[in-house]
């Protein structure tokens, strides 16, 4: 039994449980949260080290052999995503220590954050479709609480929209699971892949579309993305950052898993549909970002645009395109989390997120300006930053299969991102401040500790650019594993098709 697979799930659960017992001790909850995030990070590193060679770890919960019990599976893709989750969890928890107010901390911010991380990790590790639904719900419930915690007007408004659309997609997902079970009699993903091939396309095609819509909502694909810019800018920066970094990526991961594993042996071909959706997502996200005047909403639309780029690799479908997608996801998670954290600091300095009312920060906070530029260039894909190499891998893969339109769109999205980010930079940093900033007052308001996770994430994103070869190697290992579904099936069930 591989204990390493269960440790990243048990650690946050125990931390949250103990924290709830210590309900009145805010400081204890805070440091338990930081400690738990550190421990999860260690487990994720160990797990990644174990599987990075190409091995697939499996664990059958309760000793029930697959496909009867619940399987936990960590292939390279899963382990990479778990490592990213743990890293972002740690960064955001440290950021939250000095940025989350006492009122939110008193209502269990730290334990709920741990449960969110547990849900995300579980979604990446499970090998069972119904279990995936359960982890989705764990993740959603805690994200509902984090989003609404504080009860400000904007938060409850954003919360209603977020809750409604996500519950709708969960209901669809659940219905799809029910249908799939009734026709195959199994919910183990590997077993499903084996059995679904026997079904006629008239059954598998509608099922695949149900999954596409359910996961498309979570991933914020066009035309199902409207909930994201309506809600992501309302909670505190730490919460927005973890949402931006991880939650939509879980949707993309679920799409990758479903269409490379479960529907791999059917005649269902959603690749063209995925490419069209990816193209439209990129365009709407990119253009939407240009039209916004709130810094956080600019970023919300950029999340959508870059989800489009990531899904494009899945739509192209070749191994190299999948490797590009995985590289892109790694880069995107780090940079988007970082940008939301940086914008949180900018908002603290200026007292507003409204672009027109920001300004003059280059004079008062040059270091912040540099950090912002690194992240912005990474996101837009300016060489030599990490985003460039991720985009390069995707564009090369796209040209190989002659998907010129979608490649052109993905390059255009890079330009739109650059324009949106540079406009933000010019407004917030270059423009003279519209208000008189009291320098001494600001120094007090922005704690040094907020810069610790931001600097670490910036270094990480620079490191991804310098070590692009190695990162691409990992992405290629993961892509090789998922593009041959038999590898996964054999690791879980011990048989091949």
């Amino acid at each position: 039994m591989n204990t390493l697979l269960i440790l990243p799930l048990i650690t946050p659960l125990m931390v949250a449980a103990v924290s709830f017992l210590l309900w009145r001790h805010k400081a204890a909850q805070k440091w338990l949260g930081v400690g738990g995030a550190c421990l999860s990070f260690v487990w994720a590193c160990l797990l990644f080290a174990r599987v990075s060679g190409g091995e697939i770890l499996t664990m059958q919960a309760g000793g029930w052999a697959a496909p009867f019990g619940i399987s936990l599976v960590a292939d390279t893709l899963g382990a990479v995503m778990v490592l990213l989750t743990a890293t972002m969890g740690l960064a955001v928890t440290i950021y939250a220590v000095r940025s989350i107010d006492d009122r939110r901390a008193a209502f269990g911010f730290y334990p709920v954050l741990q449960i969110l991380l547990m849900g995300v990790t579980g979604a990446f590790l499970t090998g069972d479709l119904f279990n995936l639904y359960v982890w989705f719900e764990v993740m959603l419930m805690s994200s509902f609480v984090l989003l609404a915690l504080g009860g400000e007007r904007a938060q409850v408004e954003g919360g209603i929209k977020y809750v409604t659309i996500n519950l709708l997609s969960s209901a669809l997902f659940l219905a799809a699971i029910g249908f799939l079970y009734s026709v195959t009699g199994t919910l183990n993903m590997a077993d499903l892949a084996l059995k679904i091939g026997a079904l006629p396309t008239s059954l598998t095609a509608p099922l695949s579309v149900l999954f596409l819509v359910a996961f498309g909502v979570k991933a914020a694909l066009f035309p199902l993305f409207f909930w994201l810019p309506a809600s992501y800018h309302t909670p505190p920066a730490a919460v927005s950052a973890i949402f931006a970094g991880l939650l939509t990526k879980v949707g993309v991961y679920a799409l990758i898993r479903t269409f490379t594993l479960i529907f791999a042996f059917t005649d269902v071909d959603v690749n063209n549909l995925l490419l069209i959706l990816a193209g439209l997502t990129m365009v709407t996200g990119g253009l939407g970002a240009l039209a916004q005047t709130d810094a956080r909403r600019v970023l919300s639309f950029l999340i959508i645009a870059h989800i489009g780029v990531a899904v494009m690799g899945l739509g192209l479908g070749t191994t190299r395109a999948l490797a590009g997608t995985i590289f892109y996801l790694i880069e995107d998670v780090i940079v988007l989390t970082n940008l939301f954290l940086i914008i949180g600091i900018m908002g603290r300095v200026c007292g507003t997120f409204e672009v027109a009312r920001m300004g003059g920060m280059y004079r008062t906070h040059p270091m912040l300006g540099a950090l912002f530029l690194v992240a912005a260039w990474s996101l837009s894909g300016v060489p030599p930053f990490s985003g460039f190499f991720a985009k390069l891998a995707l564009v090369q893969a796209g040209l190989e299969v002659e998907g010129y339109t979608v490649v052109a769109l993905s390059l255009m999205v890079g330009i739109l991102t650059l324009v949106a980010m540079m406009r933000l930079w010019a407004e917030a940093f270059w423009k003279p401040s519209p208000m008189v900033i009291d320098a001494a007052h600001d120094k007090m308001r922005v704690a040094k500790m907020l810069f610790v996770p931001v600097c670490a994430l910036s270094l990480m994103s620079i490191g991804l650019g310098i070590g692009a070869q190695a990162v691409y190697g990992v992405a290629l290992t993961a892509a090789n594993q998922i593009s041959d579904a038999n590898v996964y099936i054999e690791a879980v069930l011990g048989v091949t098709r």
Partner: protein, 122 residues
Amino acid sequence: MIVMLAFVIGGLYAAGLYMMLRRSITKLIIGLSLLSHASNLLIFTTGGLVRARPPIIADGATEIIKPFADPVPQALVLTAIVISFGVTAFALVLLHRTYLTIGTDDLDDLSKTDLARSETNG
């Protein structure tokens, strides 16, 4: 029986979606719970509606005699019911909170965040 349940499930989905499209938040939440009931009932139905045939292999036999009642969907549906109970409870609290904060039950009044000059909260 299955045909009748299919109509019930379809009706629940339709009613749920219709309620979700209303302007009142209360009706929205009723719609959400109808939707989850529909999904639960759907899963329950996928197990096959067989009476008094537990999935137990008789003494001496090596195979189960079909048809039998599949226990897996029943286990799934229990999980799904618990989850939807929790989610509905949260949605009700959120509704109450929304009403206290905004003082309205009308979804059309919730469009302000898209334009609001919201103040910083770090």
